[in-house]
């Protein structure tokens, strides 16, 4: 990682995107205190992830959730609740409520060794939420789930946002990210490449793919009045315009700045298209 700094607003669902090897899991592990940075420090919720009081406010679903398979679903949640400091009297009500929330009530007394991957994923989500954390890290929460399971998880994530929690979501399923997240960042090689507000994208935002030469840094930064973000890569420039009405101003600015514009293609891009446009085609691992 190289100076990664993310600003995530309280009460929003934040998508964390990037190709394989971009540093997503490492970043999450550093923010959770599982991995120590070789230089600098990780700060989350205004403090160190090594601080017990900070961790009390955090919930985490690992990418490949595993736990003692000889425990039942109810026993697992009780254990995690106790480790998270939830009082016993509250746990009595909360454990069945959480099991109900993830749709596993008929399986509450079944051992995890008899659970499918999707069921493990659901109970893993419940353990991350058992103590009603302020900040929730979910690493690939819908992997292994069928479409109905994905919808359940999506609804749970939105319900967490509605109660005021912040959800930090790492997923390869861009369609899921697109319909769930409020904001996303794309990272590559440990650096933030672009930060997007998906709410704006859903409303009026238009993306423009520009192919031009003689693009100077001043020319790109000068687009700020009409663009929410820009990404330049060689002679390609991707601009997230604030509105369709801003497009003529953007083109005028480029030309007046001395750029030779060969293509100017406004388009409504899906997140997946944006991802490929920003990250480029597969260059191998």
């Amino acid at each position: 990682m190289r100076g990664l700094s993310l600003h995530v607003r309280r009460g929003e669902i934040f998508g964390f995107l990037g190709p394989n090897g971009a540093g997503k899991s490492t970043s999450i592990k550093m923010l959770l205190g599982l991995v120590k940075p070789s230089g600098g420090e990780a700060v989350v919720l205004g403090g160190s992830p090594d601080d017990i009081e900070i961790r009390r406010k955090i919930g985490f679903l690992p990418e490949d959730f595993r736990f003692y398979e000889w425990l039942t679903a109810a026993e697992l949640l009780e254990l995690h609740g106790r480790l998270s400091g939830v009082p016993s009297d509250k746990l009595r009500d909360r454990v069945p409520a959480m099991i109900e929330m993830v749709g596993l009530t008929p399986h509450r007394d079944k051992r995890l060794e008899n659970f499918s991957k999707g069921m493990i994923q659901r109970i893993g989500l419940a353990q991350a939420l058992i103590h009603e954390p302020e900040l929730i890290f979910l690493d690939e929460p819908t992997s292994g789930l069928d479409p109905i399971g994905r919808r359940v998880v999506r609804d749970i994530i939105r319900a967490q946002r509605d109660r005021g929690a912040t959800v930090f979501l790492n997923s390869h399923l861009l369609s899921e990210i697109e319909i769930t997240c409020d904001e996303v960042v794309f990272i590559r090689e440990g650096e933030v490449v672009i930060h997007r507000d998906l709410r704006a994208l859903h409303e009026d935002e238009v993306s423009v793919v520009v192919r031009a030469q003689k693009l100077t840094p001043e020319c790109v930064t000068g687009l700020a009045p009409w663009a929410t973000s820009t990404h330049a890569d060689g002679d390609q420039l991707i601009i997230a315009a604030r509105s369709r009405e801003a497009l003529p101003d953007i083109l005028r600015h480029l030309v007046s700045s001395g750029a030779d514009v060969y293509q100017f293609i406004p388009q409504r891009m899906s997140l997946e298209e944006l991802f490929v446009a920003i990250m480029g085609e597969d260059r191998g691992l």
Binding site: L32, K36, I52, R55, F65, F67, W70, L79, L83, G85
Partner: protein
């Protein structure tokens, strides 16, 4: 509080492992064979003209052999059940969901250790009492200072457990097993070399034994336990695992206690600071 939660879950985990029940079944099998052996030995003596003091020496030595077997079983069971409790959970990722809870990492290590200590205590108590009871009720022999002996055998297991934990925070399960069993074998050989020095009066062998005991004091603890429990008759068997040729001092027992505490301190410190 978190320490006790981890201790409780670890005790339950250990109790559900097949290796523990295999060790218990092996232990019960041992008690059955041991009791049967004593029974036939007593019967043979009743039909023979062997002098009483010799009968007592044989039966007394059989009891010590039984306790030595219990000691070996307990140490091996301790190592095998605890070998993957840290390294295995790091490898599988199971530790991620726990280490991100509001729990200090050292509490996870200490809690697991306490859970295993409880399990080892139960195992040693059952096997020790079973062997002693068979010696008394079938063979009519008793050990000297059984409480001290049992506590020292328990100490040896806790030592093996602590060393297993320490290396478990560094190495994979397989590497950890090779290191710990290698150290136990090293200590075993060092102890025997020191015993042999009693015959040759060679200071080099004594020195070798002391150095091996300082590196891994497990065998010294057993020899001290044997010294505490043996009667003058069984102690006089010069070339045995419980001969009183070279008796480890109380200082060596103190060193063992410090050794295991340092091993646990290193385990907790390293686990606290390593990447998971």
């Amino acid at each position: 509080m978190s320490v006790w939660i981890m201790a409780g879950i670890t005790f339950r985990e250990a109790a559900r492992k097949k290796i523990l029940w295999t060790a218990f079944i092996a232990g019960l099998g041992f008690l059955l064979v041991f009791g049967t052996g004593l029974h036939y030995q007593v019967g043979d003596f009743q039909r023979s003209t062997v002098p009483p003091f010799l009968r007592y020496q044989v039966l007394d030595s059989m009891l010590m052999i039984g306790l030595y077997t219990v000691d070996l079983l307990a140490v091996v069971m301790t190592v095998l059940t605890s070998i993957d409790t840290i390294s295995g959970e790091i490898t599988s990722g199971t530790i991620h969901a726990i280490a991100t809870k509001p729990v200090a990492r050292w509490e996870i290590v200490l809690g697991k250790w306490i859970g295993f200590v409880g399990m080892v205590a139960a195992y040693v108590a059952i096997m020790f009492c079973g062997t002693i009871a068979e010696g008394y009720f079938i063979g009519g022999v008793v050990t000297e200072h059984p409480v001290q002996g049992a506590l020292l055998m328990f100490l040896e297991c806790v030592l093996a457990l602590s060393v297993t934990f320490m290396f478990g925070t560094w190495f994979s399960t397989l590497t950890n097993g090779v290191i710990v069993l290698g150290l136990l074998g090293f200590a075993f050989m060092g102890g025997w070399l020191e015993q042999m020095s009693g015959f040759t009066e060679g200071s080099s062998l004594v020195m070798l034994g002391i150095v091996s005991s300082l590196i891994m004091p497990s065998e010294s603890v057993w020899r001290r336990a044997a010294f505490e429990m043996e009667t003058p008759l069984s102690g006089s068997l010069q070339f045995s695992p419980f001969a009183d040729v070279s008796v480890p001092s109380g200082a060596m027992i103190g060193y063992t206690c410090v050794y295991l505490l340092v091993a646990m301190a290193i385990a907790m410190y390293h686990f606290q600071h390593r990447d998971l």
